[in-house]
Amino acid sequence: MILLSTVRRILTQLRHDPRTIAMIIVVPTLLISLLSFMYEGQPAVFDRIALTMLGVFPFVVMFLITSIAMLRERTTGTLERLFTTPVGKLDLLFGYGIAFGLAAAVQAAVAAGFAHWALGMDTAGSIGLVVLIAVANAVLGVALGLLASAFARTEFQAVQFMPVVAAPQLLLCGLFVPREEMAGWLQAISDVLPLSYSVEALTEVGVHTDPTGIMWRDLAVVVAAVVVALVLGAATLRRRTA
């Protein structure tokens, strides 16, 4: 009940901000269109990169939105006030996770649908699986964003966490250099970064008609990373502060 009210409250806040909604929905689609122009005449390259980007964009966008939104709860005093009410930490964390997860589902569906039907992105597997993995990625962005907001005092600092958290994952996920060709220590880092698994899962959908065991395992790793980030996020939320 409290969780549902919190989800509704966060979605209502989003509804009052049409510019943000437009950015959430339009920006990934525009960027993927840009990719399709860049790789005109090289459909195989476009397919591979666009597929990866369908996993990366929701992650980045949701990380940013969530870390700022949660930071605002902390700095405007609403978080302190909520902690004098029956709201639980998990109501808040899952409230943000579900509300922004829904927004991310719309984003991923629009971007993947557009890439598939308008830009001719080809995947051996189902486009529905692409959307599923993209949504899992977005929720990962939400969970890490909630966690990162605990370490930022200001919105300036919060946006700086985006390159810190997102850039290494993007560089090491296998898009630029295949993971098996990386130096051992880079591979080891890549192995502990959750985005590596979502990119691998997407690649699996790209080349196999049916969902593979590797894809399901990778998806499970991403979901586990979400749970770990939410638990750590809950640990950083303190009812009492100095």
Binding site: T76, G77, F83, R240, T241
Partner: protein, 240 residues
């Protein structure tokens, strides 16, 4: 009259400074108690400790017989922070309805609270577009919507025009008449006369804990501002 809030030997540090150092006070149930003192005297810290969001070093804070901040109190207490803590990107009504929902109350309850703070004409407006005084009333509406037994208000009348301030005090008095315990901080002394009891606090120490009449009588003046000064001087002399 029983005690609603009891603070015993409370110690709170912020950084290296002890904001409250062995603080005692008691607030009777069903009263309007004013927490008066200059800026930086520890009013907000004391209020945060009472609602259970302040990290305390030692001491005991009991509210309605429960330790401050404990689960059963979260349905029975209302807190209004000094800076209005409402969602700027929601309308007044949406804010009140969210806080109502947290207490399993309906939209009608929420609208009643908005009406009680005189904002029904602005219910559909985004909080971001309101004036400072209207924002703090929106914040107040979100606290009174649950009809809390203990209402802790940190400077709720700052920036309000005199007519509204009068109405708000009337509202606090009605809540107290219905049995609620209202603790209001202020640094405006003329508001202190409208309280049942006063807690005068300076540099984290309690200087007086009495009715406004008794405070004035003991200082030998009819003016509360003057009484406050006299009590501070008397305390400094006693300490010297």
């Amino acid at each position: 009259m029983s005690t609603a809030i009891e603070v015993e030997n409370l110690v709170v540090r912020r950084g290296k400074r002890a904001v409250l150092d062995g603080f005692f006070c008691a607030v009777p149930q069903g009263s309007v108690t004013g927490l008066l003192g200059p800026s930086g005297s520890g009013k907000t810290t004391l209020m945060r400790a009472i609602v259970g969001v302040q990290t305390v070093v030692s001491g005991r804070v009991t509210v309605l017989g429960h330790p401050a901040g404990s689960v059963p109190l979260r349905r029975r207490i209302g807190y209004v922070t000094q800076a209005p803590s409402v969602y700027a990107d929601l309308t007044v009504a949406e804010n009140a309805r969210y806080f109502a929902a947290l207490h399993r109350l309906t939209a009608a309850d929420a609208d009643g609270a908005v009406d009680a703070v005189g904002l029904s004409g602005h219910a559909g407006q985004l909080v971001a577009n309101l004036s400072g005084g209207q924002r703090s009333r929106a914040s107040l509406a979100c606290a009174i919507v649950s009809r809390p037994e203990v209402l802790v208000l940190d400077e709720p009348t700052v920036g309000q025009d005199p007519v509204l301030r009068d109405e708000l005090w009337g509202h606090f008095r009605r809540l107290a008449a219905d049995g609620a315990t209202v603790l209001v901080s202020s640094h405006v002394m003329d508001e202190a006369n409208r309280c049942d009891r006063l807690l005068l606090i300076r540099d984290g120490a309690l200087i007086a804990d009495d009715t406004p009449e008794a405070v004035k009588r003991s200082a030998g003046t009819g003016d509360l501002d003057q009484a406050f000064l006299t009590l501070i001087k008397r305390q400094e002399l006693a300490a010297a």
